[in-house]
Symmetry: C2
């Protein structure tokens, strides 16, 4: 039906889709903008305007639905301020640093690794040791981006990225704003395992703010000092628990393994989750499972699969806790994925401007073990065996009446040392005499005094420190990606139109309702009723009766509203059921739908159960200009 799209002549120049264009639209229409600009602003802090807050809320709801509800995981909400001992245990107090170099002339601070990456061909400079970074600055004669002074010879220092504060009056207690939501889950493991009835595997999710005191924030919403994470900590017994890999075996993924990154001209691996596991490219099945689940989820919220890949961390790049890590990366450059650009993006990993939007880490038992060492609680789960196990265990039962006279005050220590030795090295009891060491002193004991023997013991289970698989999503970066991948321009009625192709589920406004004329009571009354009906059906609705209809359509196009319902005289005249037109954003095609079917139909599209094409087939098109 060519007459469905009488005015929409398709896409125009993709080069207009720049980060600056997105940022301008974001400010003007209320998606996001730098905070406190009336006071000159502070780098790294952004406010979500009404459209952005709604979009972000929808992305969070979709994440919750997928990673908490559908996976059967718990969700919690922990404070953002945590006490110092937590970060001593987690390793953040010592290891959560960036490399800082301060200009000797203007005093401006810079990330030394970024300067090197920007000015030399070197990648992942953050993995280099500090002396090497200082040498590279000297060698390449790197200069202050602010004032141009040479940075050669300036010291490079570790700068801890946590925001510090003081809890309570006086000397108080040192606290930090959490650098990741994860620690708020780990420290409560003792309770959380009880809520999960002490059964592995179980997962705990959290959506909330996290903070990093970046040395020099850049790229707008991409690298901020305050941001929202959606994290899932999946606790498993690595020797026993398996994910439902069958659910995601067929999911297609574009992988960029570490081995390919290390090669000259390395390639993507276009594969499926099932194959990736079979060939061992993704070593951990839980990581593979969540790569599959997440790939589907990113497509669900409108991330363009052609501008999406999974990149494995290089060995030197991994965080202190991770044994393997894959990043979900989105392409956010100005190159739109069509034609030659799309071909290059699909085949050349060095093409495009890729940004991490989620990470999938196999953290092993690092977190719970560390907290177990530092805190007053156990961070283990007692796992019952299916059947009680009989194990052979070497034991001693030292004859104190012999040890006492021989070793005096040390007799008890010697007995303890014999017990420890029996557990560690039963063979040591093979001869006539056994030697134990206490505080550097050796004590020889006749073996028969130790009463060594091997006993059979029955055990009903064991204490296991769970391993952690962590899918961690940057919500703001995902929101930015969704906007960037939705941003489009075409020509309608001879004029360039900007619109956002949000999927219905995450669009800030699901439907806009217009009376064609604002001074016609029969139209405005019906439009008001329709708006109420649609809201009642759970849709987010905008009502607009000002300006000509073309301008009203454009306004909704720019905020990505998928559907506009217009009440026109034709729909209320005559004796048949009242009707209204429904205009679809991307095609600008219109159909006419009975008013009392609108709510059900549009709610079905919002939930992904129907498409606009289904409605078009059911109701037939309307020939009309989009103005």
């Amino acid at each position: 039906m060519a007459n469905d799209e009488p005015v929409n002549t398709g896409e125009v120049n993709d080069e207009q889709v720049t980060p600056e264009a997105i940022s301008e639209l974001a400010k003007r229409r209320g998606f996001f903008f730098g905070s406190s600009e009336a006071y000159g602003g502070v780098a790294g802090f952004y406010t979500m305007g009404p459209q952005g807050a709604a979009l972000k809320g929808n992305v969070e709801s979709a994440w919750r639905d997928r990673f908490a509800v559908k996976e059967g995981n718990q969700e919690i909400e922990a404070p953002t301020i945590m006490p110092e001992p937590v970060f001593e245990a987690s390793g953040h107090l010592d290891g959560f640093d960036d490399m800082l170099v301060e200009c000797g002339e203007c005093g401006e601070s810079h990330r030394a690794d970024h300067l090197i990456e920007d000015e030399t061909g070197i990648e992942e400079a953050e993995t280099l040791p500090i002396p090497e970074v200082e040498a590279l600055i000297e060698e390449h004669d790197l200069r202050c981006p602010n004032c141009g002074a040479s940075l050669a010879g300036r010291p490079v220092e570790d700068f801890n990225l946590m925001f510090e504060t003081s809890i309570g009056p006086g000397s108080g207690q040192t606290g930090y704003l959490r650098p990741e939501t994860a620690q708020g889950i780990f420290v409560e493991f003792g309770r959380l395992k009880e809520y999960a009835r002490n059964q592995l595997p179980f997962g705990v999710a959290q959506i909330g703010r996290a903070y990093r005191n970046e040395i020099s924030p850049r790229r707008g919403l991409i690298r901020t000092r305050e941001f929202t994470q959606a994290e899932l900590e999946q606790f498993v017994d690595p020797e026993r628990d398996e994910p439902s890999l069958d659910d995601v075996r067929d999911v297609e993924v574009r992988l960029y393994p570490a081995t390919e990154q290390e090669k000259e001209g390395g390639d993507y691996l276009e594969t499926t989750i099932g194959e990736a596991v079979e060939t061992g490219v993704v070593a951990n099945e839980w990581i593979a499972y969540y790569l599959g689940i997440a790939k589907r989820w990113f497509e669900r919220v409108g991330v363009d699969a052609d501008r999406f890949r999974y990149r494995q961390h290089l060995p030197g790049e991994r965080a202190h806790y991770a044994s393997d890590c894959w990043d979900a990366e989105a392409e956010l450059g100005s190159v739109s994925a069509s034609g030659d650009a799309a071909d290059r993006l699909a085949t050349d990993p060095s093409a495009g401007d890729w940004v991490e939007i989620a990470g999938f880490s196999y953290r092993t038992d690092y977190d719970l073990s560390k907290h177990g060492e530092h805190a007053d609680e156990s961070f283990t789960v007692f796992e019952q065996y299916d059947e009680p196990k009989t194990v052979e265990r070497a034991v001693v039962d030292p004859d104190m009446s012999a040890l006492g006279p021989e070793f005096g005050a040390e007799a008890t220590d010697v007995a303890d040392a014999l017990r420890d030795l029996a557990a560690l090295d039963p063979d040591a009891f093979g001869g006539d005499e056994v030697v134990v060491e206490i505080d550097g002193e050796e004590y020889a004991v006749p073996t028969d005094v130790a009463n060594f023997r091997v006993e059979e013991q029955t055990e009903s289970g064991e204490h296991v420190t769970p391993h952690v698989i962590e899918p961690s999503f940057g919500v703001d970066r995902t929101v930015y990606t969704v906007i960037a991948h939705a941003y489009a321009r075409d020509e309608v009625d001879g004029e360039t139109r900007t619109y956002l192709r949000f999927v219905p589920e995450i669009a800030p406004t699901s439907v806009a309702v217009f009376p064609l004329l604002s001074n016609d009571e029969s139209l405005t009354a019906l439009a008001g009723e329709i708006a109420d009906d649609l809201r009642e059906a759970g849709l987010s609705v905008a009502y607009d009766d000002s300006g000509n209809i073309g301008r009203r359509y454009r306004r909704q196009d720019e905020i990505g509203t998928p559907f506009c319902v217009t009440v026109d005289p034709e729909g209320v005249e005559g004796t048949g059921p009242e009707t209204a037109t429904v205009r679809e954003r991307d095609s600008t095609a219109q159909i006419r739908v009975p008013v009392d079917e609108l709510a059900d139909e549009l709610a079905a599209v919002r939930r992904g159960r129907k498409t606009f094409d289904d409605l078009r087939a059911a109701y037939g098109a309307v020939e009309t200009a989009d103005a």
Copy 2:
């Protein structure tokens, strides 16, 4: 139908409903608990467990629905860290203090006003000046609650309640964790008014974390250092804009006006919003409007109207920005509102343990004026008049050829001073000579040289600094209130049962689904399908097949799940449609419902369109014991 409740013999001893009992249940079942207890904890920080996070999420959604969506207001999301100049302007840097007294013996810090309130009969001690507080400590010989040492003679100091941190490396920039979400709205007023198309009135809502570095947090979730606020800033032209008072005229409210609080034995005023406005008890119509909207909302989420009141702030108690303020207060003591206790609560304002859960402030133009003075932007709205206005304006047009020779270098300043004087005091130009003052020096000018005249000017509108009405809700306190008011005990099958009477809209779990027997495939398969159907209908569903059915009911009772659906052999036998039983939490009554009608019926109850009694009338009761 007495046989509907064969086993539930009604309420038992109310005295068991203590804050300690609530706190114990909250920990055990995963509502909330003190954070980081594995590290000894930090006073004033709480984590919401799975049940609490879900409950809180539902309360936030209900708030958003009412105060953002239904009111047609925008919602935004601002950062929690803001730069120092914002709080210089807002007054928080100077005025957001509590009175601190430190024990000279043990070093423990205390709120001086709280000590006075606890140990003397004095109320609202925070309104007293510091010297008076010091004198009262001496006079009553107040002692350190920690070690018992005398506090007489110890200095009382102002302690600022904002958490401070440093943004960026080096000397950086001082930032504070916001003490209220409101400032994140005010500083962005310039953009927000554009999104509202520069039309007053408009409202901007925000739900998010706020922080107060309390000297000595107490009462668990009631006074914490990190908490969630839901705030609405309603911007109005006080001379022109009016709320839709008709929508709330009939809402009944229990008011405790300042005048009654100041009387010996003052009384409640049981009235309606309409009457309260007519009699002037509530002076501002916008405040009255939101008191009405909020009263209905609190009842909607399950706050007990018998344990709810609005208390007006005493003049000395109001924040620095407020011209009038009413608090919503909930009664949270151990006294349940039944029998004599209810009578006393209803008639004696001094009875019960009342806690503020929301505040309704008329902030006038304080906030926007202050930011207008401190920031680089205008915080006004240009309001077009309906018709252009003609106004008389005194003007001068000084003759510089006369002023120049007379005043030399000061001539321009003299001319400016004449212009200012004409606007301020036209009468000064009545004589032959007019005198202006510049930097303390007087200059006499012949009036005819000033060329004074009164002109008619046409103005199309004016710049107005909007006034702000702020309904501000403590989300965590509301959540606590909802739990406390839902907490109940009765006797079922001869055993005491604890249950939470949450309304269906905010219950963490809407429905639990059980197969009666976990080893019968026909029951588990159908139960699984029902659970999927209910989830698809937007309900929060728990599936449980472990333990006897009575224990499963109790577990759901304790987390406040309104309905349990049980699939039993009777429902799957025979040739008729499959059925399942639905058990209602409070009455423990059961009905039998066809499986394919379950989702629609329970979703209707969740949305408040039907009640369980409607279902009982439609389907008839089942006679069964609750075990």
